[in-house]
Symmetry: C2
Subunit: 329 residues, 2 copies
């Protein structure tokens, strides 16, 4: 079977079944945002990798070199955030074409380093190889305490489904760039220079009873399916609760698209999608006061697996939630 038939996630599933990794210190292997390794009973190591490739993940006709580096680092830091952890060290594997300019490679590195520095994450080595396109493969280490670790697999029926920030602007920004439509200040920031939710994730896991978490890298629809599959549950999403910014409304108009469709399918958002136990209204209020820039929206509820993945649309009709989002192959 060809990869384009089995797809990215089908292949990952197959690898996971054929080559299960078992170790007394391996708390979590394939199937989450990162692997988790016990280094002492009170310290867990987070170990994650994510690659960006020119032509697939970015296009240098509208990305600066520095933004490319920044974005590659954001994608990796976001995976550490999704585990409830703090990033510590990183290795950079760079595939580079022969005719690339040294200054441009240093700009990529600066973009990565600028963002990593914000979280005191240190880039401490890597590898460079000849490639026909630019490839940036980053591996990060992070740490968390066992009590703050959040997996994808612990959502239970009755839990509330929440997201941070607003959704949709990454995809809308990309489409505006691709179609060379007129843009306004701030519209493209989410796509070109996303900020991972490291600090917000820490606030969440330290304050709330978070039962599962993932970062929105494939798209809300797709990533909620990931949580549902790992947790063996279903979900009901309220379309009217999906957080949509005023900018997105305007961007959607420019594009002639539905803002909700953009919000549900937009990948590379690097917002957090998570579930919490019910009855934490007080804690949520406290958190909103403590971290006023941390926007949390309750967008749905976890259901039994047999109830499937549903969305109550803006007209009050119950529909199947589309598994929208990006997949390689």
């Amino acid at each position: 079977m060809k990869l384009k038939e089995i797809g990215e996630f089908g292949l990952i599933d197959l690898i996971r079944r054929k080559f299960p990794a078992k170790d007394k210190n391996l708390v979590l292997g394939i199937g989450d945002d990162a692997a988790i390794i016990k280094i002492t009973p009170k310290r867990y190591l987070i170990f994650t990798t994510d690659a960006l490739r020119e032509g697939v993940h970015f296009d240098l006709s509208y990305y600066s070199y520095q933004e490319v580096g920044w974005k590659a680092m954001a994608a990796n830091l976001s995976d550490v955030a999704a585990m409830g952890g703090i990033p510590t060290f990183g290795l950079i594997s760079l595939g580079l074409p022969k005719n690339e300019k040294t200054e441009d490679v240093l700009k990529i590195y600066k973009g990565m380093n600028d963002l990593a520095k914000r979280y005191r994450c240190k880039l401490c080595g890597g590898d460079i190889f000849l490639s026909s396109e630019i490839i940036i493969s980053i591996t990060l280490l992070g740490e968390t305490k066992p009590k703050f670790l959040v997996k994808r697999s612990r959502a239970k029926p009755g839990d509330l489904i929440c997201v941070t920030g607003d959704l949709g602007q990454s995809q809308a920004g990309l489409e505006i760039l691709k179609a060379k439509k007129p843009s306004k200040p701030g519209w493209l920031r989410k796509h070109l220079k996303p900020v991972p939710r490291i600090n917000q994730a820490r606030e969440l896991v330290q304050t709330l009873n978070v039962t599962s978490m993932i970062d929105i890298s494939d798209g809300f629809g797709s990533d909620l399916y990931h949580i549902a599959e790992e947790s063996q549950v279903g979900a009901l999403v309220f379309a009217g609760k999906i957080p949509i910014s005023k900018s997105l409304l305007k961007m959607a108009k420019v594009l002639g698209k539905s803002p909700l469709d953009l919000a549900l399918s937009s990948g590379e958002e690097y917002e957090l999608l998570f579930t919490i136990k019910k009855g934490q209204e007080k804690k949520l209020k406290l958190l909103r006061r403590k971290a006023p820039d941390l926007k949390i929206s309750v967008v749905g509820e976890i259901k039994n697996e047999k109830d499937g993945m549903k969305i109550l649309d803006l007209k009050g009709n119950l529909k199947n939630l589309r598994r929208a989002g990006y997949s390689h192959f």
Copy 2:
């Protein structure tokens, strides 16, 4: 400046100077086979990455998919060996063309997993992305105790230069494959299915006073320069002491090349090149008895930096040691 002018090592040097990584727990950053991170005063984490790309590092016209996976893993395990460590966990980032067959990808994975398993190293996750050629980027974690850690930078004048095994067969094997020359059983093993010197490195660091170590991935000449530069020393190599197998003599004849030239320039050997304090003849003897399959050759002596990098050739003439070996760009 273009990358082909500054070269792979020039670029790494530049990144190291422009983006120095400092952290109280970072024992060793850019400039060695791996980064070293202190996790407790008695435990050091080894963190290393190495990528192989189709068309640069391997050619599927004479490599099986399984061998490609094996070799990518060998290259990474060898970096852990060079630090005196034990590999523990790995992440795999795979760049794959759309038309690749799923079975072939699983063969690559099997090759990696088969070799990793030998050392109880567990593959616990990774990333998959669309690429025009196959790219295998592996990141490994390992552990060592501070007292067994060996850097590239501690060689001192008077130390003996040693290598494990025999040299030259990887390059000779590659040239035989490329030229489609007739081959004999065992001739190609070193190139297609190299075995990293994990166990041997442990024996060495536990028995001898090893002052510096590197794995031969670029070529003996090139890698001795790496040690010399990091240690700020010179070296004198005795050509007559370079370990050359009977097979290499025959392979060199088939190729019409000098066996010594092959041995000095052959990359991807994954043998260990290391230096030890003088006066350890007894310990060396003991080690040879304890580990009879561990071949160690003393091939030269560390000199002062101002003496440069020299080789006493087979005719007794002192020449400059060629910085032979592979460089990207």
